[in-house]
Amino acid sequence: MRKFLAVVKHEYKKIVLKWTFLLATLLFPVLGAAFAVIPALIFSIKGEPTRMVIVDPTGKIAPRLKENLSKEKTAKISLRDESARDLSVSSQGQMKNIAEQAGETFNFIEYSADAKSIEQLRSELTGKITDKEIDAYLIVPPNYDSPAAKFDFFSRKAGDIISNSILERATNGAVRSQRLADANIEEDKVKDLSRNVNFSKTTINEKGVEKSGEGIFAVAFIIGMMMYILLMAYGQQILAAVVEEKETRIAEILFSSAKPFELMMGKLVGVGLAGLTQLAIWIFSALVLAGIGLSQMSAMGINFSMPDITPLTVAYFFIFFLLGFFIYATIYALIGSMVTTVQEGGQFAMIPIVLLVFGFYMSFTVIRDPNSTASFWVSIAPFLAPITMPVRILAETPPFWQIALAILLNGLAIAGLVWLAARVYRVGMLMYGKRATIPEVWKWIRQA
């Protein structure tokens, strides 16, 4: 037992005290934070005010449009609450809201259009754009009310989707107000009557407990991804560590000091604890970041509800990480003791990688419909459950017996794999020079 602990300590320190571990551990939350914060930061950088000329022969649209585009009005649009949604607001792009909040400004340049033909106007205004006197111009057609009417907008910054969409929306609003006024309809009345219903999405699980629907997809995806990356990375660690001891012949010294089984299990447990340390840091920082991110987003008027993450859920993550770790680490240890170099191991490592990738893809099936038959089977299946079950627990916690079944089946798989790997390890680690063939390995398994 003392020797086993010595191996555990050795393997744990070997990974955790390396600067790459620190880097990977820190990098994940930092990247996560970056993805959450950077888009908002980028859009908050204000562009220069757009210098614009509005040519309105009717004189009816331009004042309304200018009012719509005034600072007070754009600010009001972006800060509106749910109930104030009006017809013109599409549901697209919450990002736009953030951008609008940043505030786009328009400076209107006076321009006299009297008695000039459309062609004249255009060439003159286009000239002003090339001379950088103005940035854009909009020509309001005289027949603004006709379905054939075309509003021509020319801009030096046609790629600026944000100001374009604001302008388009403001123009629509201005024309609609004018139409309503022309038809003698009270605009406020229409707004009031045509407001959107309050469509609140809530998922109800089998126990009848309500669960907020939005955000589950993202969080479940992140968890699936995290499991996949960790299992892959730590499996490769095991492979490299086993091959190193074989390649450098340290195995010979180790085997003359402790039992092969002690050495193998010590290695698995030590590396597993290192992985657990990393997962714990990640989950903790993810929860903290999510807390900050959510409060920030709700301050911006975005409703993004998190799935409930209870201590039990976190405990399940750890359990399934450990199950997955022991399954894949044992496979990698088995491969490592069969081959002579890491490169050679790479060919065999396709087997666990394919299983991991399959599990990761299956987690999408689970996210889409956590209670389907397919989701049930993939979330209890050995090799897949360590990725799919945590995803399913997040998406829609299944009955306890299914979680227990997944733990049991994967536990049995681990027992079987450890049994196999121990037999291959004790012989394979002392075989130098050539890669073991499958019949040889089979012989070791039977003989031991």
């Binding site: 010595a6 191996v7 070997k14 190193e244 450098t248 340290i250 002392l430 130098y432």
Partner: protein, 305 residues
């Protein structure tokens, strides 16, 4: 430890790998406090035997007793094993590796640290303590590996080709340390196919070939049993003594000396005395003893035939 105490007892041990017999009915004893030469050509079964002694593999038949006990995890802690094929962790500090190897032999960390300092000092490698293996020269890593074998103060040292890859200065240095350890009462099993070194170091030897024991005993006995009672003689006069058939069986005359094969039951001392008495003037009288190398080659060719 008394001279006669047995450290290692190997009795009728066999090990098979499928059809192949690696060790066949091997028996020998290693006495405490002595240097035991475990000799044989490559593939004779030396490494397999050593692996059974250190508990890496178990014999299929026979008995191995170490310090009067069956091989176990306890006996493993009292052995220091330097394998022929050996290495260190590439990217780990020397001190961390040594601590780990000591911990695997049940040495507490405080004790291990003390001994690591002592041995690194002894090996003149103290300033390399915090360095990684990749910074070390080959000779240095060899010495570090030697340190890892003796860190837990083992009673039995098994050194498999310990000098391979070392320069002559370091070979002498290690031989000195082995002699010190022997003086402390440690038993040393020394496996090699360098006969000159074995002849210099070993008190007892065993020679194995093709998985079987060929010859064994103290170095003296082995050499004695191979002596063909040959004498190299250079002298003037005494020819009547050499004609005595009760003393001399055969004379081969070389350019400036004679090779004399003694008659059965005759001994060299009598011959020398008779020659002196006869008034012969002797410039060379030497009992020719076969070198370990000669015995090795002769025995191996014989058993391979």
């Amino acid at each position: 430890m008394s001279e006669n105490k047995t450290t290692l007892h190997v009795e009728n041990v066999s090990k098979h790998y499928g059809e192949f017999t690696a060790v066949n009915n091997l028996s020998f004893d290693v006495r405490a406090g002595r240097v035991f030469g475990f000799l044989g050509p490559n593939g004779a079964g030396k490494t397999t035997t050593i692996r059974m002694i250190v508990g890496i593999t178990a014999p299929d038949e026979g008995l191995i007793e170490l310090f009067g006990e069956r091989i176990s995890n306890e006996t493993q802690n009292r052995i220091g094993y330097l394998p022929e094929e050996r290495g260190l962790y590439k990217k780990m500090k020397i001190v961390d590796q040594l601590r780990y190897f000591a911990a695997l032999k049940n040495v507490s960390q405080a004790e291990a640290d003390k001994r690591i300092d002592f041995w690194l000092e002894r090996m003149k490698l103290s300033e390399w303590k915090k360095k990684k293996t990749t910074d070390l020269s080959k000779g240095m890593s060899q010495k570090i590996q030697f340190v890892s074998t003796v860190l837990h103060n083992p009673d039995l040292l098994i050194l498999d080709e310990p000098f391979s890859g070392l320069d002559p200065v370091n070979v002498e240095f290690l031989i000195e340390i082995v002699a010190e350890l022997k003086a402390q009462g440690k038993t040393i099993i020394f496996s090699t196919h360098l006969m000159e070194t074995a002849e210099r170091l070993c008190d007892d030897i065993i020679l194995i070939n093709k998985s079987r024991k060929v010859i064994g005993g103290t170095l003296r006995e082995v050499k004695g049993s191979f002596s063909k009672n040959l004498i190299a003689l250079r002298c003037v006069g005494g020819s009547e003594v050499l004609e005595d058939e009760s003393l001399v069986a055969k004379i081969i005359t070389h350019a400036d000396e004679k090779e004399i094969e003694l008659a059965e039951n005759a001994d060299a001392q009598t011959l020398l005395k008779r020659l002196i008495d006869s008034g012969a003037s002797i410039s060379k009288f030497e009992q020719i003893e076969p070198s370990l190398n000669d015995i090795f080659i002769e025995k191996i060719t014989e058993t391979n035939a």
